[in-house]
């Protein structure tokens, strides 16, 4: 109990989560009185990340960074604009579509937010869109990043929960696309109310030209999906293939990548990777706490005493995860909570792949919800709009995300149908 309070207190005064997890575990080892356990502290951290699957994390970050520096974003924007830019308020749809494409390449929401706020938001503002609406569309749609494959969330969830990462990737397709479409519906009503101008349709020739230019960029998601669906590649190998294609495209097709840019890209990739994997490593020390205090079993008992109905409990878990997602960083939440929920999930007969989708979906909604919505911070620091203003504008998008979340929670088919179809689950 004292340790539980200490854990929360350490978190609240701002000690990095990675340290808190490690310290809590160390204190628990001390409490057992068996000091020989200490000799395993480093070993535990080491084995926590000594997994080939985790290599997918740096590879997909690297592929995304390379694609970005290689001039991919501009071409994707041009392609989306030629395709749907002529609709009323077309740029808003373009923004959502670009988020979808980027999600299929980058796999992290904040990266997509930054790209959107730097490229599409200024354009929307130039075309007399309200700035807060523009930022809301750009930021809101960016949360598709970790749901549409590839996704760092799924890699970490897969490793922690022991679920097929390929299956999770494929399972994310339908929920991700559903989320994108529902955001387009929100944008539609807003645009209709405001009566934004209609722009002329791009000529077939332009459409052809930008499509050819964007082909290499569109190729990447195809390789990732195709590789996993056909069973040829593991997700990690897909990451390798994605980096390879990104290098070829950047150097030889778009020719915007230079050797000079490579060291910085690698360094940034390493730092981002480290910030994710360090949490995974120290969470493996924290595992001791869970085991000694039997926290997962206690939580399972507690929850089952409230109700034994699967749907009621899923609802409670959803609310809990939404709150956690609003205050805690997503990777930390995954490594802490997934082992905690594991027994109850097994007892209720919930498919762990489906549960992974529910967990990740909750956490991405948290990314655009104050007070700790990472995407909101990114958007606010780039566009100089206050968090309060963005929050107000983004509220409809949060609501529609929650609706999709409920669909994903109560219709497991949405998540497991595709993976089962391709025998990945």
């Amino acid at each position: 109990m004292i340790i539980g309070i200490g854990f929360v207190l350490l978190l609240l005064i701002g000690v990095p989560i990675a340290f808190v997890l490690g310290l809590t575990g160390v204190i628990h080892m001390y409490s057992t009185g068996n000091y020989l356990l200490f000799n395993n502290v480093a070993q535990r951290m080491f084995t926590g990340i000594d997994t080939f699957s985790l290599m997918a994390v740096p590879l997909f970050i690297l592929a995304g960074d390379l694609m970005n520096s290689g001039g991919l974003t501009v071409r994707l924007v041009n392609f989306a604009r030629a395709l749907i830019g002529h609709l009323r308020g077309g740029l808003a749809y373009v923004s959502i579509m670009v988020s979808m494409f980027m999600a299929a390449i980058v796999g992290s929401a904040t990266a997509v937010t930054a790209l959107q706020c730097n490229t599409l938001v200024p354009e929307m503002v130039r075309d007399d869109y309200e700035e807060d609406f523009a930022v809301a569309v750009a930021t809101g749609s960016s949360i598709m990043g970790p749901i549409i494959p590839p996704s760092m969330f799924f890699v970490v969830y897969g490793v922690v929960a022991g679920v097929s990462i390929g299956g999770l990737f494929i399972g994310g397709v339908i929920p991700g696309v559903l989320l994108g479409l529902s955001m387009m519906v929100v944008a539609y009503f807003y645009i209709k109310k405001k009566g934004y101008p209609v722009k002329p349709r791009a000529s077939l020739r332009t459409l052809g030209k930008v499509t050819v230019e964007a082909l290499p960029a569109l190729l990447l998601p195809l390789i990732i999906m195709g590789g996993i669906l056909s069973g040829v590649f593991t997700p990690t190998e897909c990451g390798g293939a994605a980096v390879f294609v990104a290098l070829i495209v950047g150097f030889f097709v778009y020719r915007e990548l230079t050797w000079k840019k490579i060291p910085k890209i690698l360094g940034q990739t390493a730092i981002t990777t480290a910030s994710i994997l360090l949490v995974v490593a120290t969470a493996n020390i924290f595992g001791w706490t869970l085991a000694i205090e039997q926290i997962p079993q206690k939580i399972a008992q507690l929850m089952l005493s409230i109700s034994t109905n699967k749907y009621v409990l899923l609802f409670i878990i959803n609310i809990f995860l939404l709150i956690v997602g609003c205050i805690m960083e997503a990777f930390a939440a995954i490594v802490i909570l997934v082992p905690v929920f594991k027994p109850i999930i097994a007892q209720l007969g919930i498919d762990p792949l489906h549960f992974g989708m529910v967990v990740c979906f909750n956490l991405i909604v948290g990314m655009i919800t104050p007070p700790v919505g990472l995407c909101l911070f990114v958007a606010s620091s780039i566009t100089k709009l206050t968090i309060e203003k963005i929050t107000r504008a983004i509220f409809p998008f949060i609501c529609v995300s929650v609706v999709v979340l409920l669909l994903v929670t109560y219709l497991p088919t949405l998540s497991v149908w595709l993976p089962r179809l391709f025998k990945l689950h």
């Binding site: 005064i13 989560i17 990675a18 080491f46 740096p58 690297l62 190998e237």
Partner: protein, 161 residues
């Protein structure tokens, strides 16, 4: 102090970047070799993992210095600046304790007779090489934590005068 910090940071940044770069290259070469030439290296997975682990623990020190290690800062940011600096020093001291514990036991483990003899299954690489990433990376991080503590104390002192 900052200049020394920058130099150490640069060193860590390069090591982490090179490690992740090497790991990525091995994966790509492995995929290529497996699907086009039809064989695979027994040591590929292992070497990739060890490079990734080195990249992680050394890169973590850079992530710390760039304030990229996730923590809950929402409460702290609401405090008045002076209190915030004090809390900052306390959190850094707590972090320091954790790092020192890990470094001590990691070194103890590395120098245990069992680990000194231990070789990796595929490459026959002495296991103290991958294990050493933890004390090495964490020592760099200790350096950055101290840098922040000293910076915080100086800042507090400066404000008093």
């Amino acid at each position: 102090m900052t200049r020394v910090g920058d130099a150490v940071y640069q060193l860590a940044y390069i090591i982490a970047g090179v490690a992740i770069g090497c790991a990525s290259i091995i994966v790509i070469v492995q995929v290529f070799v497996r699907y086009f030439l039809g064989f695979s290296f027994s040591w590929g997975d292992e070497l990739t993992r060890y490079f990734m682990i080195w990249g992680t623990f050394v890169g973590a020190s850079c992530a710390f210095r760039k304030a990229m290690l996730a923590g809950i800062t929402i409460g702290i940011n609401k405090l008045p600046p002076e209190v915030r600096s004090v809390v900052g020093i306390i959190t850094n001291l707590i972090g320091l304790v954790f790092l020192l514990i890990v470094i001590y036991f990691a070194m103890k483990q590395i120098f245990s007779p069992f680990v000194l003899m231990q070789k990796s299954p595929a490459m026959r690489l002495p296991m103290y090489i991958p294990y050493f990433s933890i004390p090495f990376g964490f020592t760099l991080m200790v350096f950055f934590v101290l840098e922040q503590i000293i910076g915080g104390v100086l800042q507090l002192g400066g404000r008093r005068q």
